[in-house]
């Protein structure tokens, strides 16, 4: 079926303006938050109801046409990069909050609802939705489910997978699956976990029931400066070793602290080799006690400066710096490339010095922000896309960082997803048998491979062509792999 035939078919049940297929109408959908990769889809479909989503999927299934689901398009790994011969299924119009149950502490929402809008709607009840990815003002809950999004508070409050109760999912065949429930577990296999972070490869989410948590009575943050990044890393371990789970624990290196300080004037120490933000939340009594202990530990860990936020305004000011890290990178460089690896925290110093060496090797600056509590590292490689070859160098630099993360016993993506961006690195992280199992899992949901094809899991052929080596615990052999 060609594009015009399929568009005509979709218009039998969608309004004319909900089916786009003219070149100029498709352009806004060419990329998601990873703008280095662009591809116009054949058609964009904008259903408004679950019933319309089902019809679109059935039509695409019948026509054997690929479908790429898209939420707010803020994803950073190209997960919503369109397929040239496929339909881009935008869930943006499914944006109603269907129900807030303040007693059972849950919210039932459509996938296009923005992350922050849930917390805003729950606020009158003293409740909120915990995962807070930095894009929370714009990103949609459907996208959060697809990527298993985290945020700065996930060491204590968990990721998306820990904070959702139930999903309504439409399969490529147009069947509805109810996954999870209003209770705390469900019979059979845990498909709620399997769907979360599945990057639109298994089904299309049309409804999400999330858990709401009581807003903490009080939150306070300690801003700590260190003259050595190793001391900062040790301080993080000391806090956790003392039995404290901070609500947030973020680290920035010197170049990041300077860039954000110039931009938002958060009051960061410019001489520090590393800045640590450590937040405590809970009841007033809990926070007072915890802050006292954190302060003590930071002192013992060799902090050069410790400032505790005196009020909410100051707390927000300290956080404003961390939250401005990405835009600050955009101010000091024409372009930047955000990486997303996770490492065991005790490998931090080793990985950071490795990044420093790569930075010299490639002649590209790199800012490091780090969700220190959970080991999730975001190096921001600064480059200029207008300089010939610099993007390619940046991608090579980034790939080496991810390789280092795997060698350190970590992973190539902590929260941004694999998408199209890290698909080659999947060949390094997983053995062929494991990749085959991922393909098998997809086939259980989508036997024809029509949902978001080519993303998240590489074919073994691609791995062979890419020449990536499976790296596990320093073993770099990959004998099972056929070479072409």
């Amino acid at each position: 079926m060609n594009s015009l035939e399929l568009a005509t078919r979709l218009r039998t049940f969608l309004p004319p303006d909900a089916v786009l297929h003219e070149t100029e109408d498709l352009r806004p959908y060419e990329c998601d938050g990873l703008s280095a990769y662009r591809q116009a889809p054949m058609i964009v479909a904008l259903p408004q109801t679950e019933g319309e989503v089902i019809e679109v999927l059935k039509a695409c299934h019948a026509a054997k046409t690929p479908v790429v689901a898209r939420g707010a398009g803020t994803g950073l790994s190209g997960g919503a990069l369109p397929h040239a011969e496929g339909v881009l299924l935008s869930l943006a119009k499914l944006k109603r909050i269907l129900e807030i149950d303040p007693v059972a502490r849950s919210a039932r929402v459509q996938p296009g609802v923005r992350n922050l809008a849930i917390s805003e709607a729950a606020a009158p009840y003293g409740l909120y939705y915990a995962p807070d990815p930095s894009s929370q003002i714009a990103c949609s809950i459907g996208g959060n489910v697809a990527e298993n999004s985290g945020g700065v508070h996930c060491l204590k409050y968990g990721l998306t997978v820990h904070n959702i109760l139930k999903l309504r999912v439409v399969t490529i065949a147009g069947e509805i699956l109810e996954i999870g429930g209003e209770c705390l577990d469900s019979p059979g296999y845990d498909l709620l976990a399997l769907m979360t972070g599945s990057e639109g490869m298994l089904g299309v989410v049309t409804e999400v029931t999330v858990k709401l948590l009581p807003r903490p009575e009080k939150a306070q943050v300690v801003m700590v400066a260190f003259d050595d990044i190793r001391k900062a890393a040790d301080a993080v371990a000391n806090v956790i070793g003392a039995g404290i789970i901070p609500a947030g624990m973020e680290m920035m290196d010197k170049i990041t602290a300077r860039a954000v300080e110039e931009y938002v004037h958060a009051g960061y120490n410019l001489d520090a080799a590393a800045i640590l933000l450590c937040e405590s939340d809970g009841t007033v009594e809990e926070v007072v006690e915890e802050i006292r202990r954190i302060d003590e530990i930071m002192n013992k860990s060799g902090a050069t400066e410790i400032i505790t936020s005196r009020d909410e305004a100051e707390r927000l000011k300290f956080w404003a710096g961390r939250k401005a890290a990405f835009p600050a990178a955009g101010r000091v460089s024409p372009d930047y490339y955000c990486m997303d690896g996770t490492i065991p925290r005790n490998k931090l110093a080793q990985v950071l010095s490795g990044i420093e060496a790569l930075s010299v090797e490639y002649g590209l600056r790199c800012m490091n922000v780090f969700h220190a509590g959970d080991g999730n590292l975001h190096p921001l490689i600064l480059y200029d896309a207008n300089k010939t070859g610099e993007l390619e160098m940046t991608e090579k630099f980034g790939a080496k960082i991810l390789q280092m993360c795997i060698q350190a016993g970590g992973t190539i993506t902590g929260e941004h997803g694999v998408g199209i961006e890290k698909i080659n690195q999947m060949c390094s992280q997983f053995k062929p048998g494991e990749l085959e199992m991922f393909h098998a899992v997809k086939a259980a949901f989508d036997p024809e491979g029509l949902l978001n094809p080519g993303k998240a899991v590489p074919t073994l052929r691609r791995c062979a062509e890419h020449g990536a080596m499976h790296v596990h615990r320093g073993e770099e052999k990959f004998p099972e792999l056929p070479r072409f």
Binding site: D101, L184, I244, T342, G375, E415, F430
Partner: protein
């Protein structure tokens, strides 16, 4: 230890070749759970020999252990370092192992506040139904590379693969715990537990039985004391013993000898219209019911469904087919297909969850 993995893989491959079902068993403490498997010719794979802690770094909050490791040994080691498995796993016998804990996916009293086993599983190493040695997830908190097979394995009752190693997120032990007791009616208890859960209070467990509500508070001493002042109730002396009796089902409620139903439902559901005694946990989201009347399973299931959940025939049954709540046809199709992908010959614990797989 790698020899043992090789032996396990050999047993699985031979069973696949011979098309003979394998019963995966470790400590045997949860033999009672799931559908009875009458098969006389089944081979048993004793997974308990693959034991021991592989890696434990307390400041990383991550522990990796072989699946045959006894829960008691894990908890002893964790406690030594001031940490715990926050989902408070039920043992149901001193021989309980990590593998059985993860395979059954059962969590204890702290579940409603801290999360379930599946929330703490970070990664697994496993053998699938072909005997292939596979790793999913990892040893870090945040990891979205590939589908979340580790959590899929959790609660899959050994039907998808043999767990070899599991990495868990662990948490610090609370500085202080106290248990409060207050007398009230069931409906009032449901109302209060839900109201408390919507407030920032350090409630870590609740249990209602026989007109009494027990509440456990955990955390820093000033926070626990302040919460006690807010909630009221009398502090009891042997809180630890009480919560263990609930978790291990040695509490007198569980001694009736009658079939025991587990109803996992919406926490706000009003008292269930079932005859006889119930015990309530998880802020109202878990109701245990000892069936003294021999009720039709369908009735219990309808009641659970109407209350937003599902019902499991947990103990004291002879059932071969309907321990777990039936699945909708579309859901059953997907689950059966998943089983086929992991275990193409259908040899791993067939029928333990559903007769269809």
């Amino acid at each position: 230890m790698q020899d043992i993995v090789g032996q396990f893989a050999g047993i699985i491959r031979a069973a696949a070749e011979d098309k003979v079902p394998l019963r995966i068993r470790s400590g045997g403490s949860k033999d009672f759970y799931g559908n009875r498997i009458p098969g006389q010719n089944d081979r048993v794979l004793d997974a308990s020999t693959y034991a021991g802690i592989v890696d434990y770094e307390r400041t990383e909050l991550v522990l990796t252990a072989r699946a045959g490791t006894r829960l008691a040994d894990l908890e002893t080691e964790l406690r030594k370092h001031g940490q715990m498995m926050a989902f408070e796993p039920p043992y149901f016998g001193s021989t309980a192992t990590l593998g059985g804990c993860v395979a059954t996916g059962l969590s204890g009293p702290r579940r409603a506040s801290a999360g379930a086993v599946r929330d703490f599983v970070l990664g697994v190493r496993m053998l699938d139904g072909r005997g292939d040695d596979l790793r999913f997830g990892g040893q870090v908190m945040k990891n979205v590379a590939g589908y979340d097979v580790s959590r899929l394995m959790t609660g899959s009752m050994g039907t998808l693969g043999l767990l070899l190693e599991v990495s868990l997120k662990v948490l610090p032990l609370p500085a202080m715990e106290i248990t409060l007791h207050m007398a009230m009616k069931e409906a009032e208890a449901i109302e209060r537990m839900n109201r408390w859960a919507a407030k920032p209070l350090p409630v870590s467990a609740t249990c209602f039985c026989d007109g009494g509500l027990a509440v456990r508070l955990s955390g820093a001493e000033p926070a626990v004391r302040a919460a006690h002042a807010k909630l009221g109730g009398d502090e009891i002396d042997d809180g630890g013993v009480f919560w263990e009796s609930v978790r291990e089902q040695s509490h007198s409620f569980f001694q009736s000898g009658k079939p025991l139903w587990r109803l996992s439902i919406k926490s706000t559901a009003p008292p269930l219209p079932l005859p006889g005694k119930q015990l309530m946990e998880w802020g109202g989201a878990l109701r245990w019911w000892a069936d003294e009347t021999g009720i039709d399973a369908g009735v219990a299931r309808e009641i659970a469904k109407a209350a937003g959940g599902h019902a499991t025939l947990f103990r004291g049954h002879e059932s071969c087919a309907d321990v777990f709540h039936p699945l909708e046809p579309a859901m059953m199709t997907i689950q059966r297909r998943l089983k086929e992908k992991f275990d193409p010959m259908g040899i791993l614990n067939p029928g333990r969850m559903y007769p269809q797989y």
